[in-house]
Subunit: 132 residues, 2 copies
DNA sequence: GTCAACCTTCCACCTCACTGGAACCGTCAA
DNA sequence: TTGACGGTTCCAGTGAGGTGGAAGGTTGAC
């Protein structure tokens, strides 16, 4: 399959696929006689994994690490598990901090709702954002 | 107070404070006779707000917008409220996507747990990451 | 008076994940 | 055979949020 077909299967652009190849995330695909990149199912699987992993918050580098461990075939499960565990706690921390942020924003909003907009005319302070 | 003191109160570096000033996020502070930046409580409050807002997922630009609206003193409450509302839904979306990612990672981890590590010796595929 | 630890400016560089554009070649249907 | 729409390379830029380092001035304790 050609680059655009591969890209559209996964929901990225051909540019992005070439970029991934340039950073070593995708291997050199074979080429057709005319020099076009020619991808197989393995490329699709690899790219799909990168996309999934990215959706799960892993960086391209980390996806590459997992994929490389897989290709090297050593320590794979333990390393993958460790990476996964680290990301699970990262995600938990992110969710916690977002929820704290949410609460903060909500409190700010509540103040904005309660305050009479007419009170908001002091040219030097906004009641919502002001001293806290 | 001097730049490092301000910075350490908020948990950033002096470099970062100068950078914030350079992008207009913090106003020119006064200077001592020798040219050192001299900050007051207002700078601390402003920088703290930027840090809080950043923790809440706002960009530096957006923090600056709120702070500018506050300084300009017009339309403040409505604009702040709109910004806050937009960010609340952004945060909700982020939390939702992180929770989806979490579930995905957890599923991957569960596969890692169930599989016998001894099965993970095939040099060409990792059971955890492989075909799905 | 000396020394470390601070401060100043300025400019360049970094990471991440792309994106845009130029200049050129290949494919395919009308 | 012409034109649209792909593909190729390479280089440069984006934007967010900084960091590093050089070259110099200031402060304060011993």
């Amino acid at each position: 399959m050609r680059i655009s077909e591969l890209a559209s299967h996964v929901g990225v652009t051909a540019k992005t696929v070439r970029y991934y190849e340039s950073i070593g995330l995708l291997p050199d695909p074979g080429r057709t006689a005319s020099g076009y990149r020619d991808y197989g199912a393995d490329a699709l699987e690899r790219l799909t994994f990168v996309r999934d992993a990215q959706a799960a918050g892993l960086s391209l580098k980390e996806s590459g690490q997992i994929l490389d461990m897989k290709a090297a075939g050593h320590g794979t499960c333990e390393h993958t598990r460790a990476l996964l565990d680290r990301h699970l706690s990262d995600i938990d921390a992110q969710i916690a901090s977002l929820e704290a942020a949410r609460a903060e924003l909500l409190a700010l909003r509540a103040r904005a709702d309660i305050l009479n907009p007419a009170d908001c005319t002091d040219p030097h302070r906004c009641q919502v954002v002001g001293s806290h």
